[in-house]
Subunit: 218 residues, 2 copies
């Protein structure tokens, strides 16, 4: 393959990492908006989703160009088709940040239910998984990818803990039901962020090792 | 392009349609399992997800082979890369049927909350959207794809209606809370089925018309 091809492949990786950084930042900001009850920050997260979408279009275009102009063989071909799938997961992680931001705006119109403990931990872990899964992809590192898959169990554990705790709140005081429901939905959105990171990690393992771990794990 | 290429492309479409049929059937069955409180049927949906996953691997492999062996140009190249993305959405629709099946098994251990009216309608509409989105893809039909995107609003409307109704149940009788929560989650899983179908439809519009409708609608 030409030097030109490798430069373009490198540019593709850098664009994906930049998109990943933006998406991670969206998760960080929307959690901050929830903790600080900050409407302006929540609205910023919603507005910045355009940038995530612009990256989605750009990565997709770069991939198709690489395929059309260079007709890469085996390994590089799979890398590029995997990038096209991964960018869709990244874009949808961005959508989850937007979903959460809308719930934050609703919650901010009512008094707080309780101090958040598990939700920030869940957000942090999901965000970390997104970062690691992308690094596993650009480095074609299946060991790092496996660590991401393993981390998903901890996120699911937090989701169940949050669910049980909020259920207790609702049963004890019916007035908390609407707010508790929104928090349950938010925890499910963070869970989906972690699920997308897990999907990315599973695709990395498939890319490198050639077998479909996403249908054998869990 | 060779006759061989066109035969393989046709085989790819048929495999995708078969996978779509299976996934639609999973949605139909899991709704039936909910209505009839049928544990065996719910368990069958969970077990049949292996078949959905086998299709996922097969479609992915066919696509990479088509790209590697025939190095298709412009239109066909985009069609195949789109197929690789669409198959991921189909596989995740299958996952939603499994998610719902697990909630059905939990609900069956408790007395029924109320007769279901909106949930079956939501399931039926989501299932129809899946079917139409795939047909729009294989026929490269942007008009049909636009109808799918438009149908998503009705599904979101049903989701909100279900949410409001179950919220009322919970506020009036705290004993219904755990069951009502599971039904809310089920409605969100059906919503995700419709979202995946919408994603597919948006990709079809992009494929045919070359602009990214998924970032301009909604």
């Amino acid at each position: 393959m030409s030097r030109h091809f490798h430069e373009e492949l490198e540019a593709l990786k850098q664009t994906l990492l930049a998109m990943g950084g933006l998406v991670e930042d969206q998760i960080r900001r929307v959690m901050r908006a929830l903790l600080d009850r900050d409407d302006i920050l929540a609205q910023e997260v919603i507005d910045r989703d355009r940038q995530v979408n612009a990256y989605d279009v750009e990565v997709d275009k770069r991939c198709v160009e690489l395929l059309a102009l260079h007709q890469p063989a085996a390994g590089d071909l799979r890398f590029i088709t995997t990038a096209m799938k991964i960018v869709t997961d990244l874009e949808r992680i961005g959508d989850q940040a937007v979903n959460i931001a809308h719930r934050v705006l609703e919650l901010n119109r009512e008094p707080p239910v309780k101090p958040y403990i598990d939700l920030p931990r869940m957000a942090e872990q999901a965000q970390h998984m997104v970062k690691e899964s992308l690094h596993a992809f650009v480095a074609r590192d299946p060991h790092l990818a496996r660590r991401v898959c393993a981390a998903d169990d901890a996120v699911d554990g937090l989701r169940d803990q949050i669910f049980r705790e909020l259920l207790t709140f609702m049963m004890e005081d019916a007035r908390t039901i609407p707010r508790a429901l929104r928090l349950i939905l938010i925890s499910r959105f963070f869970e989906r962020v972690a699920d997308h990171a897990t999907n990315i990690a599973e695709m990395v393992i498939y890319l490198v090792e050639g077998h479909m771990v996403r249908h054998t794990l869990a």
